[in-house]
């Protein structure tokens, strides 16, 4: 996993609630056996018209938001399917941080597997960031160590994050390698289960 520490980037506003994973990456892009190359499908139906032409008014197509690294969106971002293609597509496009007032559980977990930082702020702070991002000055600073977002206006918002998840993201740790350090405990669990629930063996 890519570590995330601190990011200075352009902020793009997407002021809609319930942006689901079908919108983030539509189904036709899920037929890949790769993790890479999904940027082309990111927000496909929002970014392109039926003939595959860019919609000039969509936020990520507008010149002032080109190269945005941070997205600020409405409530319940990432609801819907468990597809990890959603964080993969965002990362592949260059988005490293999404800010919202709430995230769907599975999407939120998936972000932490990939070094994409989901930041939860209060609804009024989200509204303020959207307003500032629309105003023409789009630079924000995201500091995971300090747990702060510095808005374009210079105002600083502090955010909460689980300390375990924070530490892993700062270091970019491999979860499987870490769990395999507890392989002995897994062996013991399996031996006990085989005795207590023998019907589960050889199913």
């Amino acid at each position: 996993m890519q570590p995330f520490t601190r990011l200075d980037a352009k902020l793009a506003p997407l002021p809609l609630a319930n942006i689901d994973t079908d919108q983030i990456i539509p189904k036709q892009f899920l037929k890949t056996v790769e993790r890479e190359g999904l940027a082309k499908g990111l927000f496909y139906d929002l970014r392109f018209d039926a003939d595959g032409r860019e919609k000039p008014d969509f936020v990520l197509n507008r010149p002032e938001y080109k190269g945005a690294g941070v997205l600020v969106a409405g409530d319940n971002f990432g609801c819907g399917s468990s597809r990890e293609h959603a964080p993969w597509a965002l990362m592949d496009f260059g988005i490293r941080c999404v800010i919202s007032s709430s995230f769907a559980d599975i999407f939120y977990s998936n972000c932490f597997q990939n070094g994409l930082l989901p930041v939860v702020l209060k609804p009024d702070q989200v509204q303020q960031l959207m307003a500032e991002a629309k105003g023409g000055n789009h630079l924000v600073t995201v500091d995971l160590e300090a747990q702060t977002i510095v808005a374009p206006s210079g105002e600083t918002f502090r955010f909460e994050i689980d300390p375990t998840r924070k530490e892993k993201m700062l270091q970019g740790l491999d979860a499987i390698g870490e769990t395999l350090q507890a392989a002995g405990a897994i062996d013991v669990y399996e031996m006990k289960q085989a005795l207590a629930q023998p019907w589960l063996e050889g199913a």
Binding site: N18, V33, R83, S109, A182
Partner: protein
């Protein structure tokens, strides 16, 4: 010493699966891992890159469901027309072969939608932990199993370790009491729950469904209810196992037999919420007050009774919800204040992991029997598995549907997400028994109205969204 607080059903399953605590996370043992073609290729690639084996191939079961065509399955995977879908299906076949994982290939009578197959085979059992790279894994909670969707990195983690690193969720109990009116069933219960708490309402919780109306549901009904838990924002839903559960399980291929059954039963019976257990939140719903429900917008929380009117975006509280509602009305081609009944449909889809089991097909067939699909409506029935299809055919349900003008298809996820050729064209309106009415979900520009199988059958006959109560006999 204060008395020990009681445990919830979720607490009990969690406690029974703790392997270790490590760095603020719990390593939780996973009893059953279901896999399919779409969310696993990158996980197996990760295993290969790191030279890691699959720890418990015997606790892993593979199906091909998301992008299989719903006709001509007997011709095999190599005959699948879509190049990318074919490559994914072939990749799964190679992976299960390389790692010795049990697999029901496309065309095998046991194959079908992963959340139909697990229970049908008796692989899904009470007290288990079950995961799958699919958010509707919550379905298996109907058996009192802790079951939820995971991403591909976690699929790789489970393949390699048979565990997941987790943090415990909070407990939410949804009590549904009373007797529903005729024409109202589990799908309406589920939509009523989503309408009550919203699509983000369950975030951070595991939901336990309880109450007399839940106890009275069949296993199929409980699966429908638990299936839609993710649309209420919670990863997992649960129903405590009881005689209905055990009756369903007994005799299924992977269910314990003989002495093993006698051992399993008392263990399974320990999985219920203690009377003194404390829930972090509780929601009560009166089953008798639920009308047949239908969605009007592009979020599963956009629910109204079939007798209701499309709401006005101006009535929504927050600016982003207002913006979303305005966008939804435009996308759906509806006006604020318009009665939802009467909206003309082009397509009817009966299927998906939500509503493709035998009971769903029986309910829809009872409405369709001796009647005709309205002219110009394309209506399709996609059974959830080869075994559901075979049983439905043995009961003559296929003949009822075909005589009424429905297309009778082969099993798969099909038009629920349109990864295979079954899709809506732009602007087409669909009465669908599936689980998501998101923009573009069933095809770019497609307009989805979620409803029960009985309501979808009624819509097919009427050619418009219609109140199923007018079709009851």
């Amino acid at each position: 010493m204060p008395p020990m607080p009681g445990k919830t059903l979720y607490d009990k399953i969690w406690d029974a699966h703790v392997v270790a605590e490590q760095d603020g996370e719990t390593i939780l043992y996973i009893d059953l891992h279901l896999i399919h073609e779409v969310t696993t290729p990158q996980a197996f690639a990760g295993l290969r890159a790191n030279h890691r084996p699959v720890r418990r191939p015997d606790r892993t079961l593979a199906v091909a469901d998301h992008n299989v065509p719903t006709e001509g399955q007997g011709r095999g995977v190599d005959a699948v027309a879509d190049d990318e879908a074919r490559l994914q299906l072939q990749t799964l076949e190679r992976n299960v072969q390389d790692y010795g994982i049990e697999f029901f290939p496309m065309g095998d009578v046991r194959n079908g939608i992963v959340h139909v197959v697990g229970p049908e085979q008796g692989r899904t059992q009470p007290g288990m932990t079950i995961v799958c790279g699919d958010s509707h894994t919550s379905t298996h909670g109907a058996f009192g199993a802790l079951a939820h969707g995971i991403g591909t990195s976690e699929v790789e983690h489970v393949l390699a370790t048979q565990t997941l690193r987790q943090q415990k969720a909070k407990n939410l109990r949804v009590l549904i009491e009373g007797t529903p009116a005729p024409g109202v069933g589990a799908k309406d219960f589920a939509l009523a729950v989503i309408a009550a708490i919203g699509t983000a309402g369950g975030a951070g919780y595991v939901i336990e469904y309880a109450g007399s109306a839940v106890r009275a549901l069949s296993m199929e009904g409980r699966m429908t209810l638990c299936n839609l838990t993710i649309e209420a924002g919670a990863r997992a839903g649960l129903v405590a196992p009881d005689a209905t559960t055990f009756d369903y399980l007994q005799g299924r291929p992977a269910a314990p037999k003989g002495g093993a059954w006698e051992m399993a039963l008392p263990y399974w019976r320990t999985f219920f919420s203690d009377p003194e257990a404390v829930f972090d939140r509780e929601v009560r719903i009166d089953a008798a007050a639920i009308a047949p429900l239908v969605t009007w917008g592009t979020s599963p929380e956009d629910v109204i009774p079939v007798t209701g009117l499309v709401p006005d975006p101006a009535d929504f509280a927050s600016p982003d919800k207002r913006a979303s509602a305005e966008r939804a009305l435009e996308y759906m081609g509806l006006r604020a204040g318009q009665p939802i009944a009467g909206a003309a449909v082009d397509v009817v889809f009966i299927g998906s992991c939500t509503n493709s089991r035998l009971e769903d097909l029986r309910t829809a067939a009872a409405i369709a029997q001796g009647r005709q699909v309205a002219p110009g409506v394309r209506a399709m029935v996609v059974p959830g598995s080869g075994l559901v299809k075979a049983q439905a055919e043995a009961e003559g349900l296929d003949e009822v549907f075909k005589a009424a003008g429905f297309d009778w298809r082969e099993p798969g996820c099909s038009m629920c997400l349109g990864m295979n050729p079954d899709r809506l064209a732009p602007g087409e309106r669909c009465a669908s028994t599936s689980n998501r009415n998101f923009e573009g979900r069933q095809g770019r520009g497609g307009r989805t109205h979620l409803m029960s199988p009985a309501m979808a059958a009624a819509a097919a006959l009427a050619g418009r969204i219609a109140d199923v109560r007018e079709f009851l006999r």
